[in-house]
Symmetry: C2
Subunit: 667 residues, 2 copies
């Protein structure tokens, strides 16, 4: 707190004096109750976390800003659809069939592993053993090729033994690890058998991999006949409401719907803290657009932004080099497919910047073809670097027309847009007309089949049929048999068609935010320890998202100070600025330190000058610099800082430096 | 739109020209996509609803204001705990055993009824038939005695037949209906048999009532061994985190935690729209306090408020007369038990007033002893009157020390507060000390039982034991037998005890808000139809909660207007004011009407005067009055109205009346 106390220059603060230690951050998280394992007093449940006051406030601020930045600023249609989801909906979307991981069981203990994690774990241990045997220490490997692998480290980790492997085996293991995401159950089983892979904790054999669906299942109502799942994503709630959304938007695309809410994945063995959990908050946007018009009217507002890209071609060449270029260049060069996708990448970048993510630890990584979700045709992940490696925090997938098409087929509701054409489209076409009154009696039970067969004919086939009918030699194929038909049954004409409406299934671009992952990454980026004391942690959260904006500290428990502290607190709260009074008996230094750990950016100290002269001092968290002003002035500065119209540098120009530190600290 | 167009006086608007029709409101709700049945295109699922853009925005605004009014303004500790809840937690809380309703099945069709609903349904039909037979038409009965009954009307309603009943039977049925809430399964079964009650839809016999637990059950993880339920309330998430919350609050009570989130009840047969659903948003406060100190420092801020009370004594006398009195009087007279409970009732009242609830249709009803939840010792419901009758919207229960005590017992965690006493408490007490080294060998397997028996003795019994030990005639009762003991086994002393810490289990006062119910009641209160046209519905939602604050209407699709509309919209959105441009080809009157249905309080009309002179007109929804001003001025007025610092009357003093209505409407 010494030398830079009075400096307004935040850049002078030395934040990298101590290397990051995850355990220290995790300790702070529980001590200051950002989050903790759920049902802790009952022993806890893996993959379920409760957010305490500081975490819930931080999360609420993130969500609130998300709502302002995306929903209000972009005029999106917000939704709040149910978590409990009818199983039929998730059958249509493919989740009942495909949203599964493979698991294996230790044949003796019954311990369950996610199959790919176990394989990865064992192969990595063998490779590690090989390196040791060859005398090369394997570094604290940051996964370069398979970025998602970072959060898959098992607690039940296989121990490496220094055994040298053949060069060919090393090569095979390495290649296998890179492709593991794409393996089927049969392939995983084959790997396990081929390499004699065993349960890491016990070295027992494991069972064959079996699929485990990752959705929580339940039953709706008392009959047990209506099956439901907890949604694995909020997206389906948008799609099933597409007709009403389109109507709300006067029948026109593009428009975007947005939803913030909980989703669930019944992970086989969750780990990596908040990064792989069973219940999590998502914020999802479904931007519906004309597949032929992927321009965006506001793209020019973001095209100048320089983003760090890692495209699929670079990755496929075995490389992870980030290429920085402007969004304008990226779209023009085709790296990013279209303006709308590019616009969202830009908006995501601005969102992450505003909440305090270190932009040097951010990249936009394109999915390789073998890792795409079953519904996606292209996907760019905003990945944030943490002590677990690069973490997918926002996925921007092009779901094309997949979901709307599937729901249309299943429900017979046309989930389409009808666009009035400015100039009608005129063209010619062969058209068949059935004469059902004759067709039915003539062919009885085959009539429907014949009708369907005719309707399925191509234009060329219809042309042939027309000529054959004229020639009296027409027939239709039904189940391999050739059935003769004549002009009594069906006629074919070459007609002029005039279309004044274009009907299409919109495409969907889906930016999907994992709020918990962003939350955790932000905390890692915000965390540092004071140069002079490794144990004095600080969370440099921007005022926009900090759980509490202002700490109010009466310098002592003198009775004159308490009403003033309450008054300041009350006035701040009335303006919606979250403040906390700390009137505990701890020293003022301790109280400051406690709030540095909470990420509280400012502290107002109430002392006897407040009583005598109506002044309070204002301390800034990162610099620990203190300024002084009248109560009204301080409150006005805080309001401006919290609404973003002033920064600390600006505040320092308004408020003079406080020079009576010793008085304050000693009393 | 004619006579009062220019009047700034909202009170002049005639809102009661047409009687309220629920079907009209419900039509508006789907047409303007406030909400709709979930999975509508799949046929829908009862009790599950999706909120569309207008509903989700209204709900988000309600929640946002709730957070400001309660959490920030009251400095509460916000939580976000998991929905998926370990079954053990809900066993402890009593939900696994007691959170159930009885159901019966139609023995032939298999249709399921909630048992009490079916009984009520049939008895009411018989009473109705009796009235008809006696020639008295029963009115459109508003349930006066059993307020909660209003939302229990079944769709499968029993038809009444005009059959006269004995006076004694009428009396018995009436009494039964009043007590139905309190009946056990056996009593319900007896009623069904005694009165030969049958399935209303078919007149078939029904099965015996069986219990159906109202929690959705699922399984956590792949083993199937960890059972979970979707939480039926958010409260348990607060209680299991009590230790961390207390620590966060420096070990002191009182403090309040708060949580906003989804909860679930697997209703047997949900109905009454949003009022009885399977998934709903709650906002719950758990205020932890010293049972001996139930005063509240801010009570004086609300004691002047006059609230409408309906206490349990009035109800037990068969009456529903509301008594209005100030909170100060209510607490002093003991009607409301204590200041803290009173303070919350006052804050709830202010919350409901601010969001636009008609205070003439609000009452605070005390639970009668027979309707209290299993954990509650007192409860006051804020009930709002709707077309379904009086609806419980906010419950304020005194859960006493029930939950913390139960969780303490189950987990062996002491969920208590330790208060340092200013003056140590000094007193004398008999204290027994076991000599385990002798006790064990002497009594073998009975040693533990003897020890427990001694520890369970009262002070008087210990005094006797002390004397008996001195006399050599002491014994301890174990399983009915008298076991002799002596001073080798145990000694008793009369000791002076000095306690400097007081340990207690805090009590909990729980205001619990059903956001969906408040949402629906608010919509009913806000809805009316223009005097001149029954089909022109208006939602008079206050700007604080209205889904969209400002409609921007370019008067035509002239190219000069569009950029101006976008500019106004952009500037409003930048300030966080949700606005929508309606540039559809509908007439301006239609566009206004559409937004009256959305509850949009203001409309900015962009016309050629905007291009030429930079003026826009501002239309107020309720009065349809229009004012005019420069763009900056209009935006400034809107900002002030939306942040609550100005009302429409004030706005009318700033902005002159717009006199060119005809120009606007005709263009």
């Amino acid at each position: 707190m010494a030398s830079n106390t009075a400096s307004p220059d935040v850049a002078l603060v030395q934040k990298d004096a101590h290397p990051f230690e995850r355990a220290q951050l995790e300790g702070l998280m529980t001590k200051r109750f950002f989050y903790t394992q759920a049902f802790e007093i009952y022993g806890g449940v893996a993959g379920l976390y409760d957010y305490g006051p500081s975490g819930a406030a931080l999360q609420a601020n993130l969500i609130n800003f998300w709502r302002t930045h995306f929903i209000i600023e972009e005029d999106m249609l917000e939704l709040d659809t149910t978590i409990m989801t009818l199983s039929d909906v998730l059958k249509t979307s493919g989740h009942v069939e495909k949203f599964a991981d493979y698991m294996v069981k230790d044949t003796k203990t019954g311990d369950i592993y996610r199959a790919d994690h176990m394989i990865e774990n064992v192969l990595e241990a063998r490779l590690q053993g090989d390196k040791e045997a060859r005398g090369k220490e394997r570094g604290a490997a940051e996964p370069e090729v398979a970025p998602a692998a970072a959060d898959k480290k098992s607690k039940k980790k296989a121990k490496s033994q220094a055994i040298k492997l053949d060069d060919a085996v090393v090569d095979e293991y390495t290649k296998t690890l890179a492709m593991l995401d794409d393996f089927s159950g049969a392939q995983l089983a084959e790997l396990i058998q081929k390499h004699d892979l065993r349960a890491p904790a016990t070295n027992n054999e494991v069972t064959k991999p079996v699929e485990f669906n990752l959705m929580f299942e339940s039953s709706i109502g008392p009959t047990g006949q209506t099956k439901g799942f907890l949604r694995p994503e909020t997206a389906q709630g948008h799609f099933v409401n597409f007709e009403r959304l389109l109507d709300f938007n006067n029948g026109r695309v593009p428009f975007a719907s947005a939803q913030i809410g909980k989703s669930f994945r019944n992970e086989i063995s969750p780990r990596a803290g908040l990064l792989r959990v069973r219940e999590f908050t998502m914020a999802e946007i479904e931007h519906f657009l004309d597949p032929e018009k992927k321009q965006h009217p506001r793209f020019k507002e973001v095209e100048h932004l320089t983003l760090p890209f890692l495209d699929k071609h670079v990755q496929m060449s075995g490389n992870t080099t980030i290429v920085k270029m402007t969004l304008g260049e990226a779209v023009r060069s085709g790296k990013v497919d279209n303006e709308t996708l590019g616009y969202f990448l830009g908006r995501i970048y601005l969102f992450l910047e505003a909440i305090g993510i270190d932009l040097e630890r951010l990249r936009f990584r394109q999915h390789m073809d073998n890792e795409m979700a079953h519904y996606a045709s292209d996907c760019w992940d905003a990945e944030i670097h943490t002590s677990y490696g690069w973490i997918e925090c926002v996925g921007s997938a092009d779901r094309s027309a997949f979901d709307l098409t599937m729901h249309s087929k299943r429900t017979k509701h046309d989930l389409v847009v009808q666009e009035a054409l400015k100039e009608p489209k005129v063209y010619q076409k062969y058209l068949a007309t059935m004469n059902k009154k004759v067709l039915g009696p003539a062919f009885k039970k085959d009539a429907k089949g014949i009708e369907d067969a005719i309707l399925a004919l191509s234009q060329d086939q219809l042309k042939t049929l027309m000529h054959d009918l004229d020639a009296g030699s027409a027939h239709v194929e039904l189940n391999g048999a050739k059935i003769p038909v004549n002009k009594e049954h069906v006629t074919v004409e070459y007609k002029t068609i005039k279309e004044s409406v274009r009907t299409f299934v919109p495409n969907v671009i889906e930016p999907s935010f994992g709020i918990g992952r962003i939350f955790y990454a932000l905390l890692e980026h915000a965390f540092w320890a004071r140069a002079e004391d490794k144990d004095r942690g600080v969370l440099s959260l921007p005022p926009l998202v900090a759980p509490f904006k202002v700490l109010i500290v009466p310098i002592s428990n003198n009775e004159q100070l308490s009403p003033l502290a309450k008054e300041v607190s009350h006035r701040l709260r009335k303006m919606g600025i979250a403040s906390r009074i700390d009137d505990s008996s701890a020293t003022i230094g301790r109280r400051y330190a406690r709030n540095d750990e909470l990420g509280t950016p400012f502290a107002c100290t109430i002392d006897f000058a407040t009583v005598a002269k109506g002044t309070i001092t204002l301390r800034e968290r990162d610099t620990t610099s203190q300024r002084i002003g009248k109560i009204d002035q301080i409150i006005s500065v805080l309001k401006q800082i919290c609404d973003g119209s002033l920064d600390w540098k600006g505040a320092c120009q308004i408020l003079p430096e406080y020079t009576g530190t010793q008085d304050v600290e000693d009393s």
